[in-house]
Amino acid sequence: MSMHEELKANAAGYVLGSLDANDRQEFEAHLAGCAECAAEVASLRPVVSVLATTVPQVTPRAEVRDRILGVAAGLKPSSAGAGPPAPRRLYALHDRKAPPALVWLPLAAAIVIAVGAGIYALRLQRQVGALQARFDQAQSTTAVLAAPDLARIDLQGQAVAPDARARALWSRSRGLVFTAANLPPAPAGKTYQVWVVTAQMPISAGLLTTDPAGGGTQYYMTPPDIAPPVAVAVTLEPSGGVPSPMGERYLVGMP
């Protein structure tokens, strides 16, 4: 991959504002002199702006309007000069007479209940999101197992973990299901990473999290145009993973 191609891959992250500081500085320097990257950035901006408006729409409480416009009434307009006399402060809260308790008590109770219900709904929404993610994972796994082009690769524990075992089930069209057992716990700051090794290069499938017993099952998407794998391997790498394997090999298997 050329330097330019590598930098162009950062255009999306730049528009989203998610580049790490070093990458951002590097990309900005490149952007100044690269019309192609500038065009990519310009083409992605409307997409990102839409993310702001695709959220569920909620109207703020009426009290918030009063509060904000009340504050606005107290602000000095930024252009000085002999204007007309200041308009009456229509929305300032203290202009109002306090309503009797008979009115505000039930109102306060209603607000407390409404806020409580809102928070509860938000929690439920998050739980549904988490369940949906697990369901998607399970569905992908099932799809792989039922794939007509399913290939099975068994992996053997290497010298550092002779008891470890794993099996990779791979379908070009549907992805990779990886199941491991008897892996030693990854030390702090380290993680297991699964590799699909092609004749050209090893491709990262993703990270593997293990349970206390050293087992783990994970679904990974693989590029549909990937070259036929000549091996599948698991290495121990720094947390977050690495672009190409550097750490010790724990499991290796060939078709």
Binding site: A9, A12, G13, Y14, V15, L16, G17, S18, L19, D20, A21, A39, A42, S43, L44, R45, P46, V47, V48, S49, V50, L51, A52, T53, T54, V55, P56, Q57, V58, T59, P60, V64, R65, R67, I68, L69, V71, A72, L75, P77, S78, S79, G83, A86, P87, R89, V115, G118, I119, A133, D136, S204, G206, L207, T209, S239, G240, G241, V242, P243
Partner: protein, 200 residues
Amino acid sequence: MWLLAALAPMHPAAESQGEDVESLRRIVSGDQGAAAVLYDRHARPLYSLILRILGDEGEAEDVLQEVFVQAFRQAGRYDASRGAVAAWLLMMARSRAIDRLRARRSRVEGRTGEVQVLNDLPDAQPDVASALLDEEQARLVREALAELPLLQRLAIELAYYEGLSHTEIATRLEQPLGTVKTRIRLGLLKLRDVLAEGQA
């Protein structure tokens, strides 16, 4: 083709842009009614975005107030050549909500965490989007977003709604950094293509 899509004028948005610019002008000249007009046009989408980011109604109300106060104060400095008023307001809303989210996170992580977060801050204020999309285009993108592969959608959402950097997303999703970059790019390119098709 997508370049045409990105540059094409967006008529409904252009009309409300004219009214927004007029409101800002009247706010600068001290017209309180204009502040109410601007609030009524934008409070709902701004509040919705802030609430999506913070997940807490009280905090979202506070941030909404900060955004409007900033907008009223800076009305005279608004520069139409840098983007639509709606996009300007949304950018301020996201930026302030994310700032608050980060402050909340660093409180949880303690002092050492705070330093770390500050060092890792990605760009808090990317340039404003030049044009806002109309409702039909927004719907297309919304649907396309829901249909993206799970990891692409999650990576984009963590970046935009939680303000996480690529490194932080990689840790959260337990994916290598390079994979996260690729997923974000593929996802946004897909959304862009959907948008271009919608306009063709």
